[in-house]
Structures are given as C-alpha cells and as structure tokens.
C-alpha cells in the first residue's frame, strides 16, 4: 500500500501529470491558452511514430515467441468483450438509453494510446519495461469494440448496419496505421535503425509528451466546463469503476499469457483506458444520435485523468504483486 502511495505521489508530481493539470486549470480559468490544431496533430504523430518504433525495435532486440500471438488474440477478445460489460454496467448505473450506453461502451473497449504512452514512461522510470509488442496489442484493441457496440444496438432492435466504408475507415484510421507502420519499421531496422533516430524519438520524448498532455488538459477542461452537468453521479462512478474492472480483465489476460510485470501492467492500462480519438469519430458516423458530449466527457474528462493520476500507479503495483516482479 505504501509503495502504491509513494508511486502515486511520485507520479502526481511528475512534469507530465502537472502539465495536464496546468491545461485543465487554464481551461477552467477560461484562459485563451490553446494549442493550434495542426500542432496538436503534429505532436500526436510524433508520439505514435516514436512509441511504435520503439516497440518494434524492442521486439527486434528481444525476439518474439508465442506470447506475441497470444497477446494479440487476448487483446482482440478484451476489446470485443469489455463493451458488453460496460454496456451492462451503464444500463444499471446510469440512466443512459441504449444508443448512448452502447456508444460509451465502445470507448471503454477500445484504448487510449496516450494513456499507454504515459504508462510506458512511468514503467520506464520505475525500472520496468513491458514487452515491445504491446504497441501492436494496443493497435489491435482499437477497433473491435466498435463492432461490439454496434452489435449491442442491433440486438436491441435498432438495426444499424456497419457499412464496409466505415469498417475500412476504422481499421485503417491514421493512428492505427502509423502505430503499426512505425512498429514494423522499428522491427525491421532494429538496433541500427534505433541508433539513427534515437535522439529524435527517445531523448525528447517526455518533453513532447508534456506539451501534448498540456493540450489534452485544455481540451478535457473545456469539455468538462461545458458538459460537466451531464455527468450524473452514476456516470461519474462508472468513469472510475469501469477502468478498474477493465484493468482486472487485463491483469487476467496478462497473467494467463505469462507476460512480465511490465507487460501485465501495460495490458491492464490498455484494458482500463478509454478511446478519445478513433472511437468518437466512428460513433459520429455510425451512431449520430448518441450524444458526443457524454462519451467524450466521460472518456477524456473522467477516465483519462483518473488513469493518468491514480490508475497507472495502482495497475503497476497490482501487476508487480501479481507477477512477483
């Protein structure tokens, strides 16, 4: 318990968390501080490229075994099934109707790559490292949850065909393609490749992450300021309980596969995190009736900060205890 608390305290007072808090505070104070859209996108391209590449290079260094395949499959299974749990919980805990509940559920089955990135850097500073291929697992977990959500809605009568075009958009959305592509490049070019671009993707990484989290704080804060009234106690509770549940599913998966303490932590983080880029876009296309303020506020305004501050240290501590690592 002490270890968790001290880790959480360290984490809370790190530049990346404080940058997020600064963004939140600036938004609440209605400062005009803002990051241009193009710059925010540029930062996210950098983060995806860097995290993907490093994952690939790490796979090149450590080799792979069957745990890679098992992890990918487990990721798929989690992404497909978590929305069902989330949907059930939401129907019980909140007054959301089917469409809104399914839309929210899709977000929790999918993942947030920035949470993953932040988690990885906490792992690194705690002296742990996850399996490099976990970025590939992150990529496969983005999309399936969307299918589950649409299936949940179809089940309840309001047939909603997933058209092929949307399917293609979701599977080939920019984040997935860049993450997987950079992963493959890192894998192919290995240590040599990493040496060439290390001072771009490794050294300044945490600093870039600070600026990006500042921006996320601004966006989340503005969203919260506008939509906090939508957050009923039930929804708020869901936004904190659901990641814990997800993390336990991730724990189970990671332990069954036999991942390292780092890998198990990352699995927990992935399962606990909620999408705020790919899934919202897909929901606007497939479920325009669902209120975006609900799912965005919950995912970006509640669950993301929770994971960033308390969640990650908790998952890490649990993973350490569970794996004895």
């Amino acid at each position: 318990m002490d270890a968790i608390l001290s880790l959480a305290a360290d984490n809370l007072l790190s530049p990346i968390i404080l940058s997020f808090v600064l963004g939140l505070a600036a938004a609440y104070a209605r400062s005009d501080l803002s990051v241009p859209e193009a710059v925010a996108k540029g930062l996210s391209l950098y983060l995806l490229f860097a995290i993907g590449f490093k994952g690939g290079a790490s796979v090149a260094a450590h080799g792979i075994d069957q745990t890679l395949i098992l992890s990918l499959v487990a990721g798929l299974v989690l992404s497909f099934s978590i929305p069902v749990v989330a949907f059930g919980l939401l129907r019980v805990m909140s007054g959301l109707d089917t469409v809104d509940a399914a839309a929210v559920a899709a977000h929790y089955g999918s993942i947030s790559i920035v949470t993953f990135v932040a988690g990885s850097s906490v792992l690194t500073s705690a002296g742990l490292e996850g399996e490099g291929y976990m970025v590939a697992v992150a990529a496969v977990m983005e999309a399936p949850a969307i299918l589950s959500a649409l299936w949940l809605i179809a089940r309840s009568g309001a047939r909603r065909a997933m058209d092929g075009e949307l399917m293609r958009e979701v599977m080939l959305n920019g984040s997935i393609v860049l993450l997987v592509g950079a992963f493959l490049i890192g894998w192919i070019t290995g240590a040599d490749g990493l040496a060439q671009i290390e001072s771009f993707i490794v050294a300044p990484f945490l600093g870039v992450l600070c600026l990006f989290l500042l921006d996320m704080g601004l966006v989340a804060g503005r969203g919260l300021r506008q939509s906090a009234r939508l957050l009923t106690p039930g929804l708020l509770l869901f936004g904190v309980v659901m990641p814990l549940i997800g993390s336990l599913a991730g724990l189970a998966a990671g332990m069954l596969i036999g991942l390292s303490a780092g890998g198990v932590s990352l699995f927990m983080i992935l399962a606990a995190s909620a999408s705020y880029i790919a899934v919202p876009a897909a929901m606007r296309v497939a479920l325009p009736e669902a209120n975006p303020s609900i799912y965005l506020t919950l995912s970006l305004g509640v669950t993301f900060p929770f994971n960033l501050t308390l969640g990650i240290p908790i998952y890490l501590a649990i993973a350490r205890i569970a794996t004895g690592g």
Partner: protein, 103 residues
C-alpha cells in the same frame, strides 16, 4: 461582363461525413465543389472549437458548390441523404457566375 444565373449551395457538415457528402455530390452530377476549413461554431448540440483537437470527431467542414439551377434538386436530394441523421446546415443562394461553361 457576361454572367449566368447559378446557385451557390453551402453545406456545413461534420468532418467525418465530408467524404461521404462529396461522394454523394459527385454521384448527383455535381461537377465541382470547394471545401473550406471551419474553426468552431455553435448550435443546438452546443459549442465547439477545433483548438487542440486531434480527433476528426468534433469538427465540421464547409462545402461550397456552385451549380446550374437545374441541378439544384438532385444535389439537395443527395446532400439530404447524407446529412439527414447528422448535425449541420444547408443553405442555397442565388448567384451569378462567370464562365458558365465550367458548370
């Protein structure tokens, strides 16, 4: 200068639907359109701004198309099918254009 009667259709639509809209316009025989970026706005579903956003979800595009008057109805039908379930607005203005052979 010689000008010709035409219609200027302006469709403000969710960015995620932009491609579907322009595909539909092309399907309806529209020969040209221009897409303007949109920075923010407000409507019944609340206010929004692109500042700092990464996802395409919270954003709109503005598609402007100049067309011959007789093509208005097919265009609106096509556009309506796309925007129907979505937020956004469609407006039509009378205008005069140069170089009618281009439309």
């Amino acid at each position: 200068m010689q000008t010709h009667k035409a219609k200027r259709v302006e469709i403000i639509i969710e960015a995620v639907m932009e491609k579907r809209l322009t595909d539909a316009l092309e399907g309806a025989g529209v020969t040209g359109f221009t897409v303007l970026p949109v920075r923010g706005g407000s409507g019944r579903s609340g206010a929004w701004s692109r500042a700092g956003q990464v996802s395409r979800a919270g954003g709109m595009s503005c598609v402007v198309s100049l067309i011959r008057p007789e093509k208005l109805d097919p265009l609106l039908e096509a556009a309506f099918k796309v925007v129907e379930r979505h937020i956004g607005v469609v407006s039509v203005t009378d205008c005069d254009v140069l170089r009618a052979e281009r439309f």
